[in-house]
Amino acid sequence: MTRWKSDRFAGWGRTAPALARAARPERQAELDAAFASAREFGATLPRGNGRSYGDAAQVTDGALILGTRLDRFISFDATTNLLVAEPGVTFGDILTAFLPRGLAAPVSPGTMYATLGGALAADAHGKNHDRAGSFGAHVEWIDLLIANGETLRCSRDQNADLFRATIGGMGLTGFVRRLALRLASASPFVRVKESRIDDLDEFFEEFAASRDSATFTVGWVDALAKGGRLGRGIFETAEYAPDAAQRPPGLRAPKPIPFDLPGFALSAPIVRGFNELYWRRVPEAGRDGIRALDRFLYPLDSLADWNRLYGKRGFHQFQAVVPDGTARDAVRDMLEKIAATGNASFLAVLKTLGGEGHGLLSFPMRGVTLALDIPNVAGADELLSSLEFVARDAGGRIYLAKDSHQSAATFRATYPRLAEFESVLAEFDPEKRFESDLSRRLGIRGRPA
């Protein structure tokens, strides 16, 4: 009795929408029914809130099963801070329900609209990766609906191979129907220190000085600045400010962008001007201030549907990590290539990561990560490829939750635990029921399409 909806589904970057069918179970029993019914449509894939940028959450001509309406908390143990929840719970839901009790998700991506299922599948990292690790590190167990229709409890002790494959596994091992996440202490406000950074070297010095001690660190880079100003930006560190006024940070309704913007809105001069203003906003001597936690963690969420800024053709998001040893040269190289094309992008994000994740396809490694939007205009392909090669040659890798472009060869060369991942899939999903446009493009379990 599952009702399937035919529609186009895209990633947040909207570059390559896919025609597919989707079911959206509202109860656990409906999930099993939808999964059984999906068999007649071929490939199946879980999907959350569609906040991954590329083609990770879509499967052309296949069947998507949306987890967004399986959105309930199931239990919370105040002595261990262990929260059991359905996968459609979002980071915003956790903030609303738990911040008044002094708790928050231990690791949070840059949007509160991401679901827990999506964050687990991406093994998402936050602005505290150096010290907290990625999302999967805080997940105690999951209940996973696998290809044969059974549900298995997976943890570090139980079905450990499936557990490691599912963390960061981009939905390819099965549907996470429940998960247990350990929350961390938090307070509604953070004290944010911002400083102006004049060039890339200064950024690396700041990161080195605070990555092991600050709770949160993040850098915003003006990706259009060149020459002596290459790598200029704003560096932020933040600490919880438990003494700040105790106002629960009521989530403000985001202001919508009602239509796709015309192309010129993102032309180089406009973006250049915006980046300049953003940089000058922080006084030369730096500044200190109190900010609500949600505004700090989710700055982009105050504009709903901001992806429409990029117009109908959409945009790519490029995010790579490169190891500490090669980071300085590789990041410089990437920024030079971006600035040279002038392919306008708002602020790029620079962060440090602390180490490998638990998952077989986890993205993080100890090093530096650069993330930026690249509008889908002429020349974008060449730029993305050249950035991909810099990352690969520097011993880095590209984040699957953002990727829409890398080659299968680069992917295979840069994810060392891929073979192990593929053998777990071969064991638990011999018929290849789970697939995505991303897995097809990257040739996971077979030649790329």
Binding site: R3, W4, K5, S6, A23, R24, E26, R27, Q28, A29, E30, R69, R72, F73, I74, S75, F76, L83, E86, A97
Partner: protein, 245 residues
Amino acid sequence: MIWVVIGASSTIAREFARQAAMQGAGILLAGRDRDDLATNAADIATRANVPVRVEHFDLADASEHIALLHAAQSFANGAEINLFLAAGTMPAQTEIDADPGLAAATIVTNYTGAVLLLQRFAPVFEAQKSGTIIALGSVAGDRGRLKNYVYGSAKAGLHAYLQGLRARLVRTGAHVVTLKPGFVDTAMTWGLPGLFLVASPAAIARAALTAAAKKRDIVYAPFFWWGIMTIIKNIPERIFKKLNI
């Protein structure tokens, strides 16, 4: 106070129960899917520090109505009882046309069952001289249409019943809200063609709580459906009967 939430597995009811619990009300979830309701109860208990209980209940089985009434009274334990009625089904008109049994079932869940249940509960509201009943009607009940007329006629009957019940209870201090949602993004409408201005279940739940707090009588949710339905109601029948809606 407590809210008895009927048809509690629907997403509108799920959101309503969450929001009412966040305002401090105890919640009694009544419906047929006990496992699912247990999950909703756990969700509410995790969010809000209020009493929550699950009762198995089938609106179509009138013999269960009295049991629910007793369960509500024991759960309320003297606190004010309020009632949110969201049970209902909306099979496609073509399916109903092919199966008379389905027409009967549609009338029972959307009309007869609701009336019999509210008749049972009315004396409770008269006796406590306060409290609110919110019943989900539908814009489909404002005018019979080709695509949805059995469901629409059941809702139209419910609307008329609620008007009378409102008049009966207002004399005692209790209140009845007729909530008429337009298209809502639920399992009921998922994948149906031709929908527009679709609202989220959370928005409908918010509108319901606001209507109760302000003692509104008949509320369209979102509000602009009032305008849409005013136009639709005013199309002459000789034209309307030919429309493919």
